[in-house]
């Protein structure tokens, strides 16, 4: 209800302008598409600075964004029913590829994530990011909610297995996102608070076991470094120290576009990808950062509204899970760059340089748009 105030034109959805009608025919949501486009432009502007004005890189990223928007547009044309129908199959395909990666995948940066399909290399864990919430939503779609205990166990198994396989690659960041997206569906499906509390209590010994038996050395080191970056100022702690310096030195108004000393003098690692937020923050300051957070908040708010107005259990759960997962991306990335969370290697949606996760995210926005626009067509 709050969101109606954030997006006032929502109240007037029945009196649509010609432009809106066209958007609706194209199955595009006005608020989402404008915010996403704005975000993409901001992303290109920051990348221009972060890449030291590398036009080649910028062209590459523009192409990826274009691809992302095309994927989004195509997915938006599918009806929610079609999406629902394909949910289990997409999951099965994704899971098979995930297992395949473990067996024959390429090793990049010490982790097996990529599946090479001739000229194309593909990260099945990215597909899983969409397929998993789709499957869980599908799993709950035609059942009585809140789910029975056995259903909850079933759902847990369904998302725990692929999460575990991804963690084996090892890709802790994606595994966390997968676990989160599954959990969101469970939560939105009405998982009892009692069960939630028990789950959290069970999580503590699980984490303990994970720490001692389930984690790679570099993952453990990241956690330790997060807890105290000063222990390793030139090694793993360097990332966090330098990015907080970048953000902190930005001040209220920032150092100005292309003027970030931390970023341009190479002190900031991964500044085009995972740590691009620090470049943005250094150059545009607190005010710029607030505006960026606001832009993300608008997208998330619109997503939540779409979820509340979705007409079936499936669309509702899926839309909710997608937008909350999107939030998780934003929160974890900004949290880690600003030193609130450990470094887990999650990109900042639409801003970070990189292709695969961008396409995944845009595909999920396609689903959101499909849910938002087909509902109206059905209702008229």
């Amino acid at each position: 209800m709050i969101f109606k105030r954030v997006i006032p034109e929502y109240a007037e959805e029945n009196r649509l302008s010609t432009g809106r009608r066209v958007l609706l025919l194209l199955h595009l949501d006005f608020t989402l598409i404008t915010s996403l486009l704005l975000l993409a432009v901001v992303g290109l502007i920051v990348l221009y600075s972060a890449s030291d004005q590398n036009m080649e890189l910028l062209a590459k990223q523009s192409l990826r964004l274009l691809l992302g928007f095309v994927v989004m547009f195509l997915v938006a044309q599918l009806t929610p029913e079609t999406i629902k129908y394909w949910s289990p199959w997409l999951f099965v395909i994704g899971f098979i590829m995930l297992v395949l990666v473990l067996v024959v995948g390429d090793v990049g940066k010490g982790a097996q994530r990529w599946l090479s399909l001739g000229v194309l290399s593909f990260q099945p864990s990215e597909l899983m990011k969409i397929a998993l919430p789709m499957l869980i939503a599908w799993y709950f779609a035609d059942t009585v909610l809140p789910p029975s205990f056995m259903r909850v166990i079933g759902a847990c198994l369904l998302f725990a297995v692929p999460t575990y396989v991804v963690a084996l690659q090892p890709d802790l960041g994606t595994a966390m996102v997968l676990a989160a997206s599954g959990t969101f569906v469970l939560f939105l499906a009405g998982l009892r608070w009692r069960t939630i509390i028990i789950g959290i209590l069970l999580l503590i010994p699980t984490l303990w076991i994970m720490w001692h038996y389930g984690m790679h050395d570099y993952q453990r080191k990241r956690v330790i470094t997060f807890l105290n970056p000063e222990t390793d100022p030139l090694g793993a702690g360097y990332h966090i120290i330098q990015s907080t310096i970048a953000i902190g030195s930005g001040g209220i108004y920032g150092k100005g576009w292309l003027e970030g000393t931390q970023s341009h003098l190479d002190f900031l690692p991964e500044r085009r990808t995972d740590f691009i937020f620090a470049v943005f923050s250094e150059e545009f300051g607190f005010l710029g950062t607030l505006l960026l957070l606001l832009l993300y908040a608008v997208i998330i708010g619109r997503g939540i509204v779409i979820a509340t107005q979705a007409q079936s259990t499936y669309t509702r759960l899926l839309a909710g899970s997608i937008i909350l997962t999107f939030f998780v991306y934003v929160f974890i990335n900004i949290g880690m760059v600003s030193g609130l969370l450990p470094v887990v290697g999650i990109p900042l949606p639409l801003i970070s340089f990189g292709g695969t996760s961008l396409v995944t995210i845009m595909a999920s926005f396609g689903i959101l748009m499909s849910i938002a626009t087909h509902r109206k067509l059905v209702s008229t």
Binding site: I2, F3, V144, L145, P146, F184, F187, L188, A189, G190, Q242, T244, I245, A246, I247, G248, S249, G250, G251, I252, T261, Q262, H264, L265, D266, F267, S281, G285, F286, T289, L290, L293, Y296, A297, I300, G301, I304, A307, T308, T313, R316, L317, G320, L324, F327, F331, I334, G335, S338, G339, L340
Partner: protein
């Protein structure tokens, strides 16, 4: 079925309600977490902004030290002795090289690169960072620089760097006095102030370069440089200019020094000439010598081995560190001691038969003149260098009084000259022998001590300074090689203030005359042992010859120059000052393995004194 569908419908409403409730909770959670992010960013960017700004600036700017220009060294007449020449160094930056070995091969086709160069280069590569510039060849010739310049386009990561290198234009002349600088070694780093020497590449190792390192070095400057995380310079900002080291003027007279060094011919030895009026060292010779330029950029192992292993020890500074028995040059001092202690009077004579014996002892202490000097008084004993007279005199004076009196001239102690590593020599005494050798003093030892043999050891510098003390009749000064310092940009140089030492006050000042007259007769008297050098002199000199035995002869054995191998031949010594009535220069010198002092050492003194006094005359 109907019941079921009704149930589902009811549930559908409930589910919607449940979902809306849940998404509201989630939305609230999102808002709380967004707020947390905003607070975190606010904390970093607003509250902690100053802190992180400082850290960011620290990251950004580095102070790059700038080396000061080393002070120049001149002689007393303003002749340049040490200068800084721009030399070209070939430097390679490994990070910028496409392939190190290829580049080296290409370079070898253009210029000569020795194995030593390569060894040093590979050693440095391991120590430095990849984007540091590492020197491969020093002192490129103009032609070599040109060859590299022409091929620069196919030599990325290679550059020719111009830097100031120390150069000694007179080569080996006065090298023991001037010394040299060399590249700072690991050992040096332990001792040097790391801030002050942050950019300096050379440090004084020997001689004046070492002794006056502090004055010559100057003060380091700084340049604020914006750097990136790899340490590469991006932009240069303001800084502090380095303060160049002060130029210094030595008291050395290069002309006198040259005359002295050339007069030695092929002989080894040492000579020190002092202005007795202010303690200035006019010449400081130690032969053989070496080319200090060899050491500046690292001497190659073979040359160093050659210098170091040479039996004539060219790296050894004989003037300050050579310890020689003074021989008969000590007689004027011992004679003065006897006069002051009333052991003898100027009139007292003894008969010299050519040998001396102690009571109850068969041993013959021989005089250098086999037939003896006949009736001899003190003046004659000095002029003709009668040993027998001094055997008797020493025995009557005794070692304690002799040692006490001679200590006033600075024997057995460092002179305190402003150069490093001076040795103290040895003035023998009863206590010394008991302490060092755990033995009592024997009268026979007193006898030979009287003619400057036995345990006696003096450095040429000590002997020169003692001679200067006779010239000034007891007024003693600390010898020094620094004449003046001249700060760059200041009009007048600042003169060095000589340091006075305790004067020698005689109870009977007329004793000076007795001794000095006798020394005058050594050169200008008809029987003087150095009468050859007084011929045609425009001034009057006073001096004393000496001969120091390198090895002892058995009693009755005859010293035969032809039979004794060269390095065991006697050292020739000579001390002198001139003009007698107004002394301007005092000289002490030794010519190793040359034989008698009168014939072999005295002529050098004449040339040196001539050179100096003629110059003085021209000045007036």
């Amino acid at each position: 079925m109907v019941q079921f569908s009704r149930l589902t419908l009811k549930d559908h409403f409930r589910e919607t309600h449940l979902f809306n409730h849940r998404i509201l909770v989630a939305g609230a959670g999102v808002m709380v977490l967004f707020l947390a992010l905003a607070i975190r960013i606010f904390y970093l960017q607003v509250i902690q902004h100053d802190h992180y700004s400082t850290l960011s600036e620290d990251n950004r700017y580095t102070l790059l030290p700038l080396a000061p220009t080393r002070g120049l060294i001149y002689d007393r007449n303003g002749i340049l002795l040490a200068q800084n020449l721009p030399t070209f160094t070939l430097e390679l930056t490994p990070a910028k090289l496409p392939n190190l070995n290829d580049t080296l091969k290409t370079l070898e086709q253009m210029i000569s690169i020795s194995l030593e160069d390569k060894k040093r280069f590979y050693k440095l590569i391991k120590k430095r960072r990849r984007f540091d510039s590492i020197p491969l060849r020093f002192r490129l010739s103009d032609e070599e620089v040109a060859r590299i310049a022409v091929n620069q386009y196919r030599l990325p990561g290679v550059r020719v760097n111009a830097e100031l290198t120390r150069h000694y234009p007179h080569g080996s002349l006065a090298s023991h006095a001037i010394g040299y600088v060399a590249r700072i070694s690991e050992d040096d780093l332990q001792k040097l102030d790391p801030t002050r020497y942050a950019a300096t590449r050379y440090v004084g190792k020997v001689g004046v370069e070492k002794a006056y390192e502090d004055i010559l070095h100057g003060e380091v400057g700084y340049q604020e440089v914006e750097i990136n995380a790899q340490g590469r310079e991006v932009e240069v900002r303001q800084g502090t200019l380095p303060v160049p080291g002060k130029n210094i003027y030595l008291s050395l007279d290069l002309n006198v020094q040259r005359v002295a060094e050339q007069s030695y011919g092929d002989y080894s030895g040492a000579l020190v000439a002092i202005d007795p009026n202010d303690g200035s060292i006019l010449a400081l010779v130690s032969l053989p010598t070496f080319d200090p330029n060899l050491f500046v950029n690292g001497i190659d192992t073979d040359t160093y081995q050659e210098l170091n292993a040479s039996p004539s020890q060219p790296l050894f500074n004989r003037a300050l560190q050579g310890r020689y028995p003074p021989g008969s040059t000590i007689k004027p001092f011992v004679g003065l001691a006897a006069l002051e202690n009333n052991t003898v009077t100027p009139e007292k004579t003894i008969y010299c038969p050519g040998y001396y014996t102690l009571k109850n002892d068969d041993r013959h202490y021989r005089d250098w003149r086999k037939e003896g000097h006949g009736q001899t008084n003190l003046a004659k004993a000095i002029t003709e260098s009668c040993d027998v007279y001094f055997y008797d005199l020493a025995l009557n004076l005794n070692i304690d009084k002799m040692q006490q009196f001679l200590a006033q001239f600075g024997f057995g102690k460092p002179t305190g000259v402003d150069l490093r590593d001076e040795v103290s020599g040895l003035l023998p005494s009863r206590e010394w022998k008991l302490r060092a050798q755990h033995q009592a003093w024997y009268p026979g030892e007193t006898i030979i001590t009287g003619i400057g043999q036995g345990y006696w050891l003096t450095t040429p510098l000590q002997l020169a300074n003692a001679t200067a003390a006779i010239a000034t009749r007891g007024h003693r000064l600390q010898p020094h090689i620094l004449h003046a310092t001249h700060e760059v940009g200041v009009e007048q140089p600042v003169d060095f203030t000589p340091v006075a030492l305790p004067d020698i006050n005689l109870k009977h000042p007329e004793n000076w005359d007795t001794i000095i007259n006798a020394m005058h007769n050594v050169i200008h008297g008809p029987n003087g042992t150095a009468r050859g050098i007084g011929v045609n002199a425009k001034y009057q000199m006073a001096g004393k010859t000496g001969t120091a035995q390198v090895f002892g002869l058995k009693e009755g054995e005859k010293y035969d120059v032809k039979k004794v191998s060269k390095h065991l031949r006697d050292h020739a010594l000579f001390i002198a000052f001139a003009p007698v009535d107004n002394p301007q220069i005092a000289v002490a010198l030794i010519v190793e393995n040359a034989g008698g002092g009168g014939a072999n050492a005295a002529p050098i003194a004449r040339k040196v004194i001539d050179a100096y006094l003629e110059e003085e005359e021209q000045d007036e």
